[in-house]
């Protein structure tokens, strides 16, 4: 449900980043001073395969407006196969969220290597814009958490 006063709307966005590629990519974005909105908060996980769908739903429950997961590019996983499992899990989860009517685009997966500071920053800018265009998450939150 897009809101008219988008300028006012500051989304809450949780980004899960794998320790080996994407977290380092975010570090590179930082050291390269490539800005992206402060709405994005990063949680470090060892590998994208550590991200449980429960974590993503939990974020929405507690009021997140968008959740993004970043991991090593397929084929480059530090643990060799983790992101392949993560990819299947997220594909199915996202498809289910879409199925129950949650706006397409509230969740995203992006593969970001340690060298891709530019990509990390661009992805986050893009994602924040997307969530802003979607507006506040009203379809997945717990009413008790709405202040």
């Amino acid at each position: 449900m897009p809101m008219n006063d988008n300028a006012e709307f500051r989304p809450k966005i949780v980004a899960f980043c794998c320790n080996w590629c994407s977290y380092a990519g975010a570090d590179l974005a930082g050291s390269s001073r490539l800005t992206y909105p402060a709405d994005v908060k990063i949680i470090k996980v060892p590998c994208s395969c550590r991200v449980n769908p429960m974590f993503i739903l939990r974020a929405f429950e507690k009021g997140a407006d968008g959740v993004i997961m970043c991991g090593c590019h397929p084929g480059d996983c530090h643990y060799s196969t983790g992101n392949y499992y993560a990819r299947r899990r997220m594909t199915l989860l996202f498809s289910m969220l879409d199925y129950i009517g949650v706006e397409h685009g509230r969740t995203r997966v992006e593969w970001v290597s340690a060298a891709e500071g530019v990509k990390f920053s661009a992805t986050m800018n893009e994602f924040v814009e997307k969530i802003k265009s979607l507006g506040k998450n009203v379809r997945l939150g717990d009413l008790r958490c709405r202040s």
Binding site: K62, G63, D142, R144, C145, S147
Partner: protein, 342 residues
């Protein structure tokens, strides 16, 4: 005795809702349950049994008790406000009303549950006689007359194209006064005829003649130790369906929920069928499903009457009979003991 044409019922709902919150059977996604009335709600007073009993109106499945807030290192506690506005529960059946009387025994006894008491004080029960009792009904076994619900503030009968309306308490009279402009005078004879008609159906339902011999106050240990339980519980999958559709089950759990801007301490229905029911630091006091299964029936048919002057905490509504996933139910339990002569 008053009456109102069925086609005018929406006006009646509207009128009641002007001064009260109105809970009424509403059909949503194919199922009928008591819900707060709105103009767009699809009211369904024809369905005999709502899936859930109306006990939610007095004892909601989940309710907040208080909220803890934090400012710096200071903690504030805000009690949830008690109900202070009147509400009407429209269309409760005789069994459901008895169900509330069972809850009264639990929540109005000392120490009084203030949340419940406030709701009882402000709640007005408009009961409705059962038009077509069903095969799964056995209310008569517990002395309930489904043709004329007792314990309500107003009793209604759906007869032909009219709803007959009889206030029986002061609260009922007051409600009646507030909607009197919509009511006309009714005829007691029509109601008596209807009751007769319903009684005939009741007499055809085998379970209405179920015998409670051996249950009640006297028998405890023998029944408790019966080997029958071991056989009866086996198909039970330990879900909470029977307890959650039951009008008398009163057990609840108290938990905390962190909303991010305060911690809510809430209570929610719990089920004695669950393995974590009354879980304590040392573990559970009932460790097997057999024990949990036995507890449910012993409580309803033995312990509760023992502690409450013979009042059973089953009202024979038959919801559990209809809804048990594996077709177990209290009737089968009663029959099994009868057959074995224990």
């Amino acid at each position: 005795m008053y009456k109102i044409a069925k086609e005018n019922l929406p006006d009646l709902y509207e009128a009641i809702a002007e001064t009260n919150t109105l809970y009424i059977p509403v059909k949503k996604a194919g199922q009928t349950n008591f819900e707060q009335w709105t103009r767009s709600a699809e009211v369904d007073i024809k369905t005999l049994k709502t899936v859930k009993s109306p006990k939610d109106a007095f004892f909601p499945q989940s309710e907040n008790l208080y909220t803890c807030g934090k400012e710096g290192k200071k903690i504030t506690i805000t009690l949830e406000a008690l109900t202070d506005e009147s509400f009407v529960v429209f269309g409760m059946k005789a069994c459901d009303v008895r169900g509330v009387e069972v809850l009264d025994k639990v929540f109005l006894a000392e120490p009084v549950d203030t949340f419940y008491a406030a709701r009882r004080e402000h709640g007005i029960i408009v009961a409705m006689a059962c038009n077509e009792p069903e095969l799964s009904c056995f209310c008569k076994v517990f002395g309930i007359d489904c043709t004329e619900p007792s314990g309500a503030d107003v009793i209604t009968w759906l007869i032909g194209d009219e709803l007959f309306w009889r206030p029986v308490t002061e609260k009922g009279e007051m409600l009646t006064d507030s909607v009197k402009r919509l009511l006309s005078d009714g005829d007691d004879a029509a109601v008596e005829a209807k009751r007769e008609e319903i009684s005939k159906i009741v007499s055809k339902i085998p379970n209405m003649r179920l015998s409670l011999d051996g249950w009640g106050r006297d028998d405890k240990l023998e029944r408790f130790n019966s080997p029958l339980w071991e056989d009866l519980y086996k198909p039970c999958i330990a879900c909470g369906t029977c307890t959650f559709v039951c009008p008398t089950c009163q057990c609840y759990d108290i938990k905390d929920y962190d909303t991010g801007h305060g911690v809510q301490r809430y209570r929610c229905w719990d089920s004695c069928m669950y393995s974590d029911f009354t879980l304590m630091a040392h573990g559970n006091n009932r460790t097997s499903q057999m024990q949990r299964f036995r507890q449910r029936f012993m409580h309803k048919l033995v312990y509760f009457p023992t502690n409450n002057d013979g009042m059973y905490s089953c009202v024979g509504c038959g919801r559990c009979v209809n809804k048990c996933p594996q077709n177990l139910n209290i009737v089968k339990v009663i029959k099994a003991f009868k057959k074995e002569g224990v």
